[in-house]
């Protein structure tokens, strides 16, 4: 039974935290007591588990909307409070069974020993929470790519690209005014998280109002992820219809272009670094997205996509729109519009 991508994402994130804080516990034990035992790691791992669960809780989502530094401090503070409460209760109960007196327990809880332990745990939490934030600044998994130097020399690879654009963004921008339009985009982009995780894609870049998504052919073709992404975003927008209408008076409408092919992946820049995709497929995907208005479609893909999956699918319907001469392409490209067949059934997919 394969796990839902979102469950897998959470499990991976929580287990990373368990191991990381476990190692911190071990190091603390070595530094502090100059001994090594299963205790240091286990205690750290338990704290890590607590941290992981809290990071995926509603509390974290609430605090997460604060600015970076405030969010990190507030999270670390709140978590350590909860952790201290949990461990003190556990210690108290354990002491109770071991026949310790209340005074002994009180003396321990206020000893420099305990203060240092809590202080250290706070620092570890703060570091972990900040690193997670920084990882988001870079994009998930990107840090590992830089550290390994994997794309220091360009590498050839097959990739699926999806350009997602807001329909009539100019008109919306004029209506909302610059400040509200910016907030509108902020809100819209924030809602892309779940669709991205659920479709196992990677957000490559924000270009103006557009976003560029990338999949490896395997991940993109699996469960038709690259196509499902578009409809997941639409569904998310539909769910938040009232919120968008209430706050901005307008609901985002999206269009997208999908294409696939061979590109080069390269680390560029030495001052400000970036991982870039070079090659025709990415431009073609952009052109396909731009063709949407012309043919009155919301979601277009190139016929090349069918080397990855069959055009006969029970969930999606592909309608041929004909051959198009796209700018920068010598040969005309066959385009198909994509629609979802059963709106209701797809909601319990996976």
């Amino acid at each position: 039974m394969p796990l839902h991508p979102y469950t897998r994402y959470r499990l991976r994130s929580i287990s990373t935290l368990v191991v990381a804080v476990g190692i911190a516990g071990l190091l603390f034990q070595i530094a502090h007591d100059q001994t090594v035992s299963a205790w240091g790691f286990s205690l750290g791992a338990a704290l890590g588990l607590l941290l992981g669960l809290l990071e995926h809780s509603r509390l974290a989502a609430r605090i997460g909307t604060l600015p970076f530094l405030a969010a990190s401090l507030a999270k670390a503070g709140a978590y350590i409070g909860i952790a201290a409460a949990v461990f003190l209760t556990a210690g108290f109960l354990a002491g109770l069974f071991a026949g310790k007196t209340l005074d002994e327990f009180g003396a321990y809880a206020l000893s420099p020993e305990a203060v240092v332990q809590v202080g250290f745990a706070f620092v570890v939490f703060l570091v972990v929470v900040s690193v997670r934030q920084v990882n988001r600044l870079l994009g998930p998994g990107i840090l590992a790519r830089y550290l390994s130097g994997r794309y220091h020399r360009p590498r050839k690879a097959q990739r699926i690209f999806l350009f997602l654009d807001l329909t009539s963004s100019t008109a919306i921008a004029e209506r909302l005014g610059p400040e509200n339009y910016s907030a509108f985009l902020q809100r819209f982009y924030a809602e892309l998280d779940r669709p991205i995780i659920d479709s196992e894609g990677e957000l490559f870049q924000y270009v103006g109002d557009e976003i560029v998504m990338v999949w490896t052919p395997e991940k993109g073709a699996e469960h038709m992820n690259c196509i499902r992404f578009f409809f997941l975003v639409e569904r998310r927008i539909a769910e938040l219809k009232e919120v968008f209408l209430g706050r901005f008076g307008v609901i985002p409408e999206i269009k997208a272009g999908l294409h696939y092919g061979e590109v080069l992946i390269a680390e560029i820049g030495s001052y400000r670094k970036d991982i870039a995709y070079h090659g025709d497929p990415i431009n073609t995907a952009a052109r396909i997205c731009a063709t949407c208005n012309q043919v009155g479609a919301r979601f277009l893909c190139s016929a090349d996509m069918f080397t990855l999956f069959s055009p006969h699918h029970e969930e999606f319907r592909f309608t041929s729109m004909g051959m198009f001469n796209l700018k920068g392409k010598k040969k005309p490209v066959g385009l198909l519009s994509i629609e979802q067949r059963h709106q209701a059934r797809s909601s319990n997919h996976c």
Binding site: F68, P178, E179, Q186, Y206, A266
Partner: protein
């Protein structure tokens, strides 16, 4: 020295002083209480005096290491993969840390024993200490302190100057309007190059071109906002962009850098890369966007206009097109001359924009 470098050195030094304060207080409070508990005798240590000594030493050593890193080592290793660079730096700094810690311990021990530096007893005690868990932990602690600080700096540089700080402070957590200068630079005839060179060589050409941009960016105080394919977007605040004509000078500086490297480009790729550019100034909204992948994004007409200027270079047969607001903002007596080349109608705007060609007089 550049303000930017100075800030980096300041950050590193402060970071390490904090680390020093922490370890001294920790040693003072916890270890002493441990020793007292184990030996049953009261130990008196003057934490304040210790703090003074350690902070002073850290200030000097930290500033030296920071200067070495920011002014020399970082530039030397900039073109290496990040992981390799960090590894090489770790090796270098840990070696230094070992040497300096040993020396410090040697002096202290010699002083306490009232013996010569190379006296057998002194050396034996120093060796014992350095190989004890305490000694190893001291080295490990300082290695982590040094490496984590350098890592923060690397990440900050990767994100673009000032971006990490803006995120930390939540400056653009709510969208903010700012007046900025934008320079869009685009590789000329990139489609032809891509076909002529093949994908792999083309990708390496772009890598080389953007790596050559580093000097210009540093010299002219620019920020790299984004790379979009074969295009790069530089931004400045009004103050930084107008000072010394930075925003214009940057383009000519980059152009010259590429021309100086012509033999290399000709030999490696058989082509000479040239960039065309649009320069504009105006109000945009700056906002933090995204959750899973956060970014500082700029939105506004000023950006679209800049892109249009850059696109029109070919039509006007110019390398650099400048908008009216930029020409007005730059002082008269600057090292540039502006020649009007025409007007550019813009989508959604009733008044077309006047467009100028900028020519460097004294470069």
């Amino acid at each position: 020295m550049r303000q930017n470098n100075l800030l980096k050195i300041l950050f590193l030094t402060l970071y390490w002083v904090c680390a020093a304060v922490f370890i001294v207080v920790y040693d003072g409070v916890v270890l002493i209480s441990d020793v007292e508990r184990l030996t049953g005798t009261a130990v008196s240590v003057d934490i304040l005096a210790n703090l003074g000594i350690v902070v002073a030493v850290t200030l000097v050593a930290g500033a030296a290491i920071a200067a070495c890193e920011v002014l020399y080592l970082n530039n030397l290793l900039r073109r290496r993969p990040l992981g390799l660079a960090l590894l090489l730096k770790t090796a270098f700094y840990v070696t230094n840390i070992c040497i300096f810690t040993t020396l410090a311990i040697l002096f202290i021990t010699a002083d306490q024993l009232d013996q010569g530096l190379l006296h057998a007893t002194t050396l034996r005690l120093v060796a014992t200490y350095m190989l004890s868990p305490r000694g190893v932990m001291t080295i490990a602690y300082w290695s982590i302190a040094v490496m984590s600080a350098l890592f923060v700096l690397q990440v900050s540089e990767k994100l673009g100057q000032g971006v990490l700080v803006s995120f930390l402070l939540g400056r653009y957590h709510r969208p903010r309007e700012e007046t900025l200068i934008f320079l869009f630079m685009d590789l000329k005839s990139s489609t032809a190059y891509a076909e002529q060179l093949g994908h792999m060589k083309y990708s390496r050409l772009i890598q080389d071109c953007f790596a050559d941009l580093t000097e210009t960016v540093v010299r002219h105080d620019a920020q790299i906002y984004q790379y979009v394919g074969d295009e790069v977007v530089l931004t400045w605040s009004l103050r930084k962009g107008l000072a010394n004509g930075n925003c214009l000078a940057a383009f000519f500086d980059y152009d010259r850098t590429l021309r100086e490297r012509e033999p290399y480009y000709k030999a490696t790729y058989g082509v000479m890369p040239e960039f065309k550019a649009g320069l504009n100034l105006g109000q945009v909204m700056v906002a933090e966007v995204g959750q899973l992948k956060k970014e500082l994004a700029y939105h506004g007409d000023a950006l679209n206009t800049t892109a249009r200027l850059q696109e029109q270079c070919n039509a006007f047969l110019k390398k650099l097109l400048v908008s009216e607001p930029v020409r007005e903002a730059l002082p008269e007596q600057s090292m540039f001359e502006f020649h009007p080349v025409g007007v550019l109608p813009l989508k959604g705007k009733q008044q077309p924009v006047s467009v100028y060609e900028a020519v460097a007089i004294s470069m």
